[in-house]
């Protein structure tokens, strides 16, 4: 056992300084933002700091094993995460009508955050050695799996995470070489079935959120409140912002969910367009680094995993930002490394740990 662990570290520590530094920087900025967004709540900020430190360590640890370790255990990881997800559905803790969490005593775990990572890895492991183009059978198996898991999350209900799981899975499938003909055909089916989805798969409040997007002023004090106040917060920040902890929208409770979904609005209000640009630059740097690593990965499994996980990260950022500035409906999506919430935070540290592992391990030559 000890030998095995020491084997892991045989080639020294696997480490990507670009990602490590930029993610550490992002996490630190996140703590600064969260302190203000939580109305200077020290307890929240300290708790989040512990997650950040723990997460950074976790990221380092997760990046040490060889990619083969993840490839070989992908099914086991998926089954464990699926088990936790189902456990949540039966014995989960209900908060505000949503059953998403497992109470572990010291920590409430949002189990959908785990499967968000393990599903793309499993799909990469499942598809990496399939010849191109991917057969219809494999396509259907993958899609069925993706939809089942996404739907379990959707009925929690957690539309945001379910959406992310869905697209993360589809990214891997797409990158693995899903035939264009299939993509075209299924897109057509999807568009045609939109009314059916609208009527049967969306909760009334979710439909309301989508409608609100198109007419936020129809009910500015009701369903349009969040997005109206968010836009006011962002807009009133101006170019330079109102100054740290000076955002009236955030500090006088006009903005909802300042610590989680709408933390970007707080940043935009207090740091202005300049602050937004700085934050987006850090995100951009990480994404470009991921693109580079994906393109230079050692094998198909690594490529698919890095590609899938980085697109997962990218999509999460996009959905959050697009939501708070009012171009997509409010779906409940944290801003990675910035929003409060341990599960989401840790899942991204793990994801980046795996990305670093995939990127830094050279191909082992069999003796």
């Amino acid at each position: 056992m000890i030998k095995k662990i020491s084997n892991i570290f045989r080639d020294g520590i696997y480490f990507d300084q670009y990602l490590f530094i930029s993610i550490t920087l992002l996490s630190a900025m996140g703590l600064v933002f969260l302190f203000s967004a939580s109305q200077g709540n020290l307890e929240t900020t300290i708790k989040q700091s512990i997650f950040v430190i723990f997460g950074l360590v976790l990221m380092l640890l997760v990046s040490q094993p060889d990619p083969d370790f993840y490839k070989n255990n992908a099914l086991a990881f998926l089954l464990i995460s699926l088990f936790l997800l189902l456990l949540t559905a039966f014995t989960g803790k209900e908060i505000n009508g949503a059953k998403r969490w497992l109470d572990l005593g010291f920590f409430t775990l949002q189990t959908s955050e785990i499967i968000k990572i393990s599903l793309p890895i499993f799909l990469a492991a499942y598809l990496f050695n399939k010849s191109l183009p991917i057969s219809l059978k494999n396509t259907f198996i993958s899609i069925l799996l993706i939809f089942i898991i996404a739907n379990i999350v959707r009925i929690q209900p957690d539309l945001g995470t379910s959406l992310v799981i869905l697209i993360a899975g589809l990214y891997v499938l797409f990158l693995a070489g899903l035939s264009w003909r299939f993509i075209g055909a299924s897109s057509a089916i999807f568009v045609l079935s939109l009314p059916y989805i609208w009527n049967n798969f969306l909760e009334p409040f979710q439909r309301q959120r989508i409608l609100t997007l198109f007419e936020p002023n129809a009910d500015p004090y009701g369903s349009g409140w969040n997005i109206t106040q968010s836009k006011i917060a962002i807009g009133s920040g101006g170019f330079q912002g109102k100054g740290y902890q000076q955002g009236s929208q955030a500090h006088l409770d006009f903005l909802p969910e300042t610590e989680t979904d709408f933390i970007f609005s707080v940043i935009a209000e207090e740091f202005g367009f300049l602050g937004v640009c700085v934050l987006l630059s850090v995100f951009l740097f990480i994404l470009i680094r991921c693109l580079y690593l994906a393109l230079n990965a050692r094998d198909r499994f690594c490529r698919l995993t890095i590609g899938g996980l980085s697109l997962l990260f990218l999509s999460t950022i996009f959905i959050n930002l697009a939501m708070v500035i009012g171009i997509i409906p409010v779906v409940g999506m944290p801003l990675p490394f910035i929003s409060k919430g341990g599960s989401s935070l840790l899942s991204f540290y793990i994801a980046f740990g795996i990305i670093i592992s995939m990127a830094t391990h050279k191909k082992l030559m069999r003796r």
Binding site: S131, L132, G177, Q229, I232, A233, I234, L295, R300, R303
Partner: protein, 611 residues
């Protein structure tokens, strides 16, 4: 096994697809940056305002209304404090305990407790004050004050009520205040570009405005300007810090021309009878006494009448709300005669020596219709002066008969008939000055000579309000000139408007004054009974308005059984002669005799003004 060829194409395929997604997202991120830019930079000022609006709340501060004084600076209408018991719910943890403690000191009614219980939470969450009890008595205030150290978040707040110190004396002249309706409020606030979210009230009955009289006419001046306190608020509307305050500007006080003493005398002399009194200072046109009777209490109206009390006032047959002084239409009757006489002089139809024989009636040559005088057998040979003194009808029938109706109408208009004679009266009526054109329009009938003859003695279609009669008297007194009447004391004397000129010279005016003095002082004068009531000369002309036309005194005795059929009593007077300072008109409905019923009232007012 995958061969290298396939591996290469797989890799290329992967690159293409990954870059494709990145490119799509790059476009989406440009959209996000563009949208953020447009929110933060292009539309910044809109959102800046929206955020500011969100976090600030403007609370109005009601200004205090101006005080109304009489001409000597005595307060007529004031703001008197009333005391309310206020609590601050946001700082009170145990409301029921506090309520029990307060109940042991100040009695609280079930409704007051109910109201407080219902509103406590809301007021607490918004950091607003709550009125526990209104209008504390002096005893309650004292009882609370000595124990106030026990209550950190309970205090007594002063608010005001509008109070007329002489509530029945000035009910029509000054009028009353009442609640501002929504449109009125919108207008008032719009003038100051304010919104009405919340107000710190100065008056315990909220927003008030002048509803009638001087309170209404000078509402703008009395009202003052609303101030504002600007608070920072959170999303729930809870008040946080006070950011700014623009203090309210109190309304301007108004010094009226009204004379409290003569008003008191006039009110007493009227003694609740139906009628009106208007007295003015001739040199300025200032109204010094103004009574419409019967009256009512303006304070009761302003501070809330019960529905029954209000209905009672509305249904009162004597119509206390009706302002007879500017809205009551009465035939001038014989009081018109000096104006008719002057018309004769002006148009050289007659002169002061011109005499006719008065047999007691006038026969209209056109149709032989008989127009009777008041004295059986007539006044014999009579000139203008005696016709005024004795009030000969025949003389004026005859004079009117010789007059051109259009010229006569024009002449009477100069004396104020058919015109608004007041600058600042509330809803004045202009009476009726008939003319052939008017008759054709309204009655679809031509003007008869007989109509002119009736006009000669102030009967028929002609009607005037008491204030018009006072104006007419003032012009007579001032020899053809007068200022338009007003309720506000004038600081400087204005040059009066010249109204009558042409062929009437000073000696004509003086002769007319002499004749009108004779109405009281001449042994044959119709108002001889007034002689003993004064010790200086007063010019006057009495009138008795026939409501029902009767041929004989016996007939009148029958119809007078019904009080409503009795003649109205009218008098106009000015004095002291020969340099008159005040003019007065008195109308007493169904008073029967101008000289002996309306006359003493006029003399009493005149005496109080002169002494």
């Amino acid at each position: 096994m995958i061969d290298s060829q396939e591996r290469f194409s797989e890799k290329k395929n992967f690159f293409n697809r990954l870059i494709l997604i990145y490119v799509i997202f790059a476009a989406l991120f440009i959209l996000i940056i563009y949208k953020t830019y447009s929110l933060q930079v292009s539309s910044f000022s809109d959102y800046e305002i929206a955020a500011l609006k969100n976090k600030t709340r403007e609370i109005l501060i009601q200004p205090s209304r101006g005080i109304i004084y009489d001409r000597d600076g005595q307060i007529l209408v004031n703001n008197v404090p009333s005391y309310n018991l206020i609590i601050k719910p946001s700082f009170i943890s145990n409301f029921e305990n506090l309520l029990d403690e307060i109940k042991s000191i100040v009695e609280l009614s079930e409704e007051e407790i109910e109201y407080a219980r219902i509103n406590f939470q809301k007021k607490a969450s918004l950091n607003r004050e709550l009125i526990l009890k209104k209008d504390l008595s002096k005893e309650e205030i004292a009882k609370f004050e000595v124990r106030s150290y026990r209550f950190k978040n309970v205090f007594i707040e002063q608010r005001y009520s509008r109070q007329n110190l002489y509530p029945e004396l000035f009910s029509h002249a000054i009028g009353y205040v009442g609640n501002l309706n929504n449109e009125g409020l919108d207008k008032v606030l719009q003038d100051q570009s304010l919104s009405t979210k919340e107000t710190i009230f100065y008056y315990s009955n909220g927003f008030i405005e002048g509803k009638t009289g001087i309170e209404n006419i000078y509402d703008d001046r009395l009202r003052g300007k609303y101030g504002t306190k600007i608070f920072e608020v959170d999303a729930t509307g809870k008040l946080l810090d006070e950011l700014n305050e623009i203090p309210a500007v109190s309304g301007n006080d108004i010094k009226t021309s009204l004379d409290l003493e003569s008003q008191k005398v006039a009110f007493k002399a009227m003694n609740g009878r139906r009628g009106a009194i208007v007295a003015v200072k001739i040199s300025t046109g200032e109204i010094v006494s103004y009574i419409s009777s019967p009256s009512f209490s303006v304070n009761k109206i302003a501070n809330g009448l019960s529905e029954n009390e209000f209905k009672e006032l509305l249904d009162d047959v004597n119509k206390p709300f009706f302002d007879r002084a500017v809205q009551g239409r009465y035939s001038p009757a014989s009081t018109i005669k000096p104006a008719i006489g002057l018309f004769g002089i002006e148009n050289e139809i007659i002169d002061w020596d011109y005499k006719i024989n008065d047999p007691g009636f006038f026969i209209l040559p056109e149709d032989n219709r008989i127009y009777r005088g008041w004295k059986k057998g007539g006044h014999g040979d009579i000139n203008l002066s005696n016709a005024i003194i004795e009030s000969s009808n025949t003389f004026f029938f005859s004079l009117a008969y010789q007059s051109d109706i259009n010229d006569l109408t024009k002449h009477l208009s100069k004396f104020g008939f058919g015109r608004n004679v007041c600058n600042d009266c509330f809803l004045p009526d202009i009476g009726l000055l008939p003319s052939p054109a008017w008759k054709m329009n309204t009655h679809n009938f031509g003007w008869f000579k007989g109509d002119t003859v009736n006009l000669g003695v102030g009967q028929g279609y002609l009607s005037a309000t008491p204030i018009q009669l006072a104006y007419y008297a003032a012009i007579l007194a001032n020899k053809g000139t007068i200022n338009k009447f007003s309720f506000v004391k004038k600081d400087s004397l204005e040059e009066p408007d010249k109204l009558i000129s042409a062929n009437i010279d000073v000696s004509d005016w003086e002769k007319m004054h002499e004749s009108m003095i004779g109405v009281i002082d001449n042994p044959k004068g119709t108002a001889g009974r007034l002689r003993s009531l004064k010790d200086y000369p007063i010019a006057a002309k009495s009138g008795t308005v026939e409501l029902v036309s009767t041929e004989t005194k016996e007939d009148y005795k029958i119809i007078r059984e019904n009080e409503g059929n009795r003649d109205h009593a009218i008098i106009i007077a000015f004095g002291p002669m020969p340099n008159p300072e005040y003019a007065v008109s008195v109308v007493i409905e169904n008073g029967e005799s101008g000289g002996s019923v309306a006359g003493p009232v006029a003399i009493a007012v005149m005496n109080s003004l002169i002494n």
